[in-house]
Each structure stands twice: as C-alpha cells, then as structure tokens.
C-alpha cells in the first residue's frame, strides 16, 4: 500500500479518496461543500475558544486535529518525523494571518475552492482564478530568489507542540468544559449556522486521521499542484487535484448534493471581484510560505515548527477576521473586508521583495 502511495500515482490515489471522503462528510452533516475546509474549520476552532464571538461559526473541528495527528503518526511510522524550525517564524505567522483573511473573504481555503466547484458552486471559478493568479505572483518571486531562509533541526520534543495542540482540541471537544464567568463559556459551540452543522465526532476524526495519513505519504498539496505546473511543467501533484475534484463531483452527484449555479450556494457569496482578490491574497501567502493550509497542518504534524507558526497565524487571522468585520458572509464581503485584502496583498508584496535573497 505504502509503495503505491509513494509512487507517481500517489497524489492521484490520495485525491480520489479525499474527494469521496469530503463529499460523504457533507452527507454526514458537515456544512455544504465543506467536507473539510482548513480555513473555515480553523476559524470554527478560533470561535470555540472564544477568540472571536461570531456565534454561528464555533466548533472544535475534529478533522483539523485528525490531519495533524494522522500526519504525526504517519511520519513517526515511516521515519519522517524530523523536528525543524527557525525559518522566519514571525513572517510565516503573519503570512498565515493574511492567508486566512484572504480565504475568509472568499469563504474557503484552496481545498474548499475545489470542493465548491465539485458541488456546482460556480462562484468558486473566480476564487480558483484568483488562486492561480496569486500562485503565479508567488512563482515570480521564487524565480527571483525569494526565500524565507533555511530551517534547522530542533530537539525531537519541539515537534510535539502541534500534535499536543491537536490532542487538546480533541480532549476539550469530548469533555466540553465551560470556562468563563458563571461558566458560560468558552468553550463555545454554535447552536445554529455552519458551526452547528457537523458530522458525528468519530466519523470526523476518522476522516481527519485518514486524510492526514494519506496527505503525509503523498505530499498532497493544492498550492504545490498549480505551482509546479506553472513553474516546471510538473503535473505530479496536479493529478491529485484533478482526481480530488472529479471524485468529489461524482460522489456529490450520486448523493444528490450537486446543485449547479451562482445564487444561494452554501456559505458563499456572489461578489466575484472579491472572490477573486481574496484568493489572490491567499494564493500568494500560501506560495510564499511553501504550501497550502492542509499541507501546513501536515508538516506541523511532521514536526515542522515553521508550519506550526503559520497555522497559529491562521488561527489569529480567523479571530481578527470575525472580530473586525473582515470575513464575508452569504450576503457579501464584510464591512472592512476590502481594505483588509488590499493591506494583506501589500504585506505579501513587501515580504516578497524583502526576502529576495538568493543564495550565492
């Protein structure tokens, strides 16, 4: 099995299984076209912790914990647990912050952009076009010598921070303690809206662990797929995305979840300029950091502290996005979503130029 996953067909096999799992998770209760979305689910976790107070998007998503722990166990089992860090962690944190804001202006990470397409949400086309554009700008910086610098090996224990964080999320999900004055929370759990829509815990966790394992073995990456195709005409990872979309589409169709159109799509809006620009920002930030948000979770499970910094940046970005009206809703972009996107783009461009420090 592992030889198959490590072969040139590995990403495609992972893509097929991930696509089917994503569509089934919606069938089991996750929000529409949101089998798993790294941005939305990290945002829900931020809400459950009370880092933002948008009552409809608060839940400790076991899928996210499963991605990290699945990758952690897989990395341990196959001798790929290599704790490392020290490559501009604060810049990576900020890139994660702005990647999340871009994703929440669009309403989804790259994984969900493809899942929205596979569910018939044509607004995703503008988002995917923006994503490709953002990756293209990132590739331009990479060819110009962009680098956040090398990471260094760290003590073995340093790589345990993110797996332990994932474990804490799971413990709090099951124990459901109530903190705060008069025990009113956090932890918060949505009673309505997308945060209240979720598959049973064990199914979500199992799905997360399987996805974490498959993605760790095959290096499945929704940014790398497009980046490598643009940059070196390598379609190794792209086959994974193609398989992911096709599998999710067929499964959605079979389950009666394929509903084509622009209007009334689940957790989506029709302001195409901002669908586009939000994902330009996300695509650029992800490319500068070296991978899609799913890949960041996987690498953080492998012991990569820099990827962990990026994930924590996403968590804070989600909190800011909802506290400061930057995130979009089904009615359109938030009051300050447009300036936040522009600020994020300017920040990423500054990072891109500031770190053009090609090795000799």
């Amino acid at each position: 099995m592992d030889r198959m996953l490590m072969s040139k067909n590995g990403p495609a096999i992972a893509g097929l299984i991930l696509g089917v799992i994503a569509a089934f998770l919606v069938n089991f209760g996750n929000p529409g076209n949101m089998g798993f979305c790294v941005a939305c689910f990290t945002r829900d976790i931020a809400g459950a912790f009370g880092l933002h107070r948008a009552a409809i998007v608060q839940y400790l998503r076991p899928e996210i914990a499963g991605f990290i722990l699945g990758a952690f166990v897989s990395a341990l089992a196959f001798s790929e647990y290599r704790p490392r860090g020290g490559s501009s962690p604060m810049v990576r944190f900020a890139l994660g912050f702005f990647a999340m804001i871009g994703a929440l202006v669009f309403l989804g990470c790259p994984w969900r952009a493809y899942l929205r397409l596979a569910g018939g949400d044509w607004n995703a086309v503008a988002g995917i076009a923006g994503l490709i554009c953002g990756i293209g700008i990132g590739v331009w910086f990479l060819y110009g010598g962009f680098s956040l610098g090398p990471s260094r090996p760290t003590p073995k224990a340093a790589g345990l921070v993110m797996p332990l964080f994932a474990l804490v999320v799971l413990i709090l999900l099951v124990a459901r303690p109530l903190f705060g004055a008069k025990g009113t929370g956090p932890i918060f759990f949505s009673e309505s809206g997308p945060g209240a829509a979720h598959a049973p815990i064990l199914i979500s966790l199992a799905a997360g662990l399987i996805v974490g394992w498959l993605a760790q073995r095959t290096r499945f990456c929704t940014i790398g797929a497009v980046r490598d195709l643009i940059m070196i005409r390598d379609c190794h990872l792209f086959k994974g995305i193609a398989a992911f979309i096709i599998a999710a589409f067929i499964t959605n169709f079979a389950l009666g979840q394929f509903k084509p159109g622009f209007e009334g799509q689940p957790v989506a809006h029709t302001m195409q300029l901002w669908n586009f620009l939000g994902m330009v920002l996300a695509g650029l930030a992800f490319t500068l950091a070296g991978g899609c948000p799913g890949r960041m979770l996987i690498m953080s499970g492998e012991g990569d502290s820099d990827a962990g910094s990026f994930v924590m940046g996403m968590l804070l970005g989600a909190a800011f996005a909802h506290n400061f009206s930057l995130a979009s809703s089904t009615s359109g972009i938030g009051a300050f979503g447009a300036p936040a996107t522009i600020i994020g783009l300017v920040f990423c461009l500054i990072v891109g130029f500031a770190f053009k420090n090609r090795m000799a």
């Binding site: 490590m6 990479l142 990456c221 790398g224 070196i232 950091a289 070296g290």
Partner: protein
C-alpha cells in the same frame, strides 16, 4: 571533472528544486550533488533531475540526503 554541490538543506518547497534547476540549466553535462534534509525534498529534486534528462541517484549523508545528477 569538477563536482558541483548545491546546499538546499532546510529550504521550503519548492526552493530545493529551483536551486537544482538553476544549476542544471547552466551545465550541459557533469556531476551535480544536491544536499537536502527531508524525504519530500529528496523526492522532489530527484523527480526534477530525472525529468530534466539527467541520471539521478541519492544516498544518506549527515542525517540528510545527497541527491546526485549526472549527465
């Protein structure tokens, strides 16, 4: 013949591949050794080397990997 070494240890995706491409593009033949520290980078660099028409190989070295490209 001179052996060229590229130290791509610790670099994020896809920088090890870019550094490899930069060196291979400059040379029509010879031996190039690319140092990486993760299995993912080793696979990516090896795949690029082979796709670019060079003969690829690798060995473990100093807790990481040395990928070789020869033509």
């Amino acid at each position: 013949m001179e052996k060229i070494t590229v130290d791509a240890r610790g670099l994020s995706c896809p920088q090890p591949v870019i550094e490899t491409k930069r060196v291979l593009d400059k040379h029509s033949s010879g031996t190039v050794e690319i140092l990486v520290d993760t299995v993912t980078s080793r696979e990516n660099v090896l795949r690029y080397v082979t796709n670019a028409g060079w003969k690829g190989g690798w060995r473990e070295q100093d807790g990481g990997y040395a990928v070789t490209a020869t033509k």
